[in-house]
Symmetry: C2
Subunit: 218 residues, 2 copies
Amino acid sequence: MSGNQRQSKRIQTRRENERLILEAAEKVFAEAGYGGATMQLIADMAGLPKANLHYYFATKEELYRTVVARIFEIWLHAAESFDNAPGPVEGIGAYIDAKMEISRRHPFGSKVWASEVMHGAPVIQDYLETTLREWTDGRIGAIQRWIDDGLMDPVDPRHLLYMLWATTQHYADFGHQIETLNGGAALDAGQWAGATETVKRIILRGIGAREIRPDLAK
Amino acid sequence: MSGNQRQSKRIQTRRENERLILEAAEKVFAEAGYGGATMQLIADMAGLPKANLHYYFATKEELYRTVVARIFEIWLHAAESFDNAPGPVEGIGAYIDAKMEISRRHPFGSKVWASEVMHGAPVIQDYLETTLREWTDGRIGAIQRWIDDGLMDPVDPRHLLYMLWATTQHYADFGHQIETLNGGAALDAGQWAGATETVKRIILRGIGAREIRPDLAK
DNA sequence: GTCTATAAATTGATAGAC
DNA sequence: GTCTATCAATTTATAGAC
């Protein structure tokens, strides 16, 4: 085996183990909280000896930081569906679709994010003050333009954004409560679609979002 | 001093200390999570030696249970504003007012509740399956009657309830994020009023809530 | 009822053989 | 890179003097 092949194998092993550890960590941090999570629990769930976790991630906090950063990336990617939309029906509609899909596919990540913010964002405060603030300001500007163009009612864009975050993330963060009230069963595909449609309908109608009528455009 | 007076004093001391401990515990559990909270931290914040906590509450879990139960009581009390309302404008409007006021006045309690549910409700699962489920079913019936009476659009009552919980509790649970995006300052009285009005307006308009017109009643 | 001292168990992290 | 054994610090809970 050549040196290159050996190195490639080593890199692959590292990547695979890091993935195993990060997936296990995301679940354990979500279910037990940062303080309740133990390296032993994460190691067991990843199927690795505890010492190996410390080989890949020096400290518990570094592992946690990596988990939170991954979630933020997913979150930011969904935010793109907001951009380049001609009006609120398309932009906000697509954003709700994307956020609901994330709540469905990444419930653990959403919970870790919620927990981090609830505890005062000790690890990702810099993200809140830079990336998130910039994104928020940009979207507030976009919503204000839609209002100015008469495409929706004049509602406070900031609080509208909070409503979008709250309603969509609720299905992940409070998923256990929703499941209990659903007779102990997780929402099926139809129920997820129904939830998404209800949220979209109430919010879009609530802000008086109007379709763009090309025939009426000047 | 008579025996009665002595006993009364003792009861008063107990009540006062329990209050001190519970307030400190609510704050520490909210900010550090169950696993991150330590009896030492709670004792320091309450201004009592750690051993005294164990005198009043045998275990950390018993103290936590008491904190969560207190929040649930406050939560249930606010739910009453939903009842005996003639229509959705009054009922849902008053409910949003009450829930927003709780988010403002009991942010720690809201966070402890959110954290408990996010971690699978290990301590209050029985509340979810009994009291909360009954309350939810009752309110779904009330909303359905409003729909049948033509007082609002036919939206899924269950998802409407989730939207009400999500939007109002978001201002407590994600208060730190909102504060950061508000330039690092907590919302002032005017901003809280603005948030409440925006939430009410979007939801009430979103469900097509109509005022009861007595002159049109049969 | 209050408080100091301490027991018993757990946890994050590391040493060192393989 | 992997894994066993172990250290050092922390934490819940209690014993026992006052």
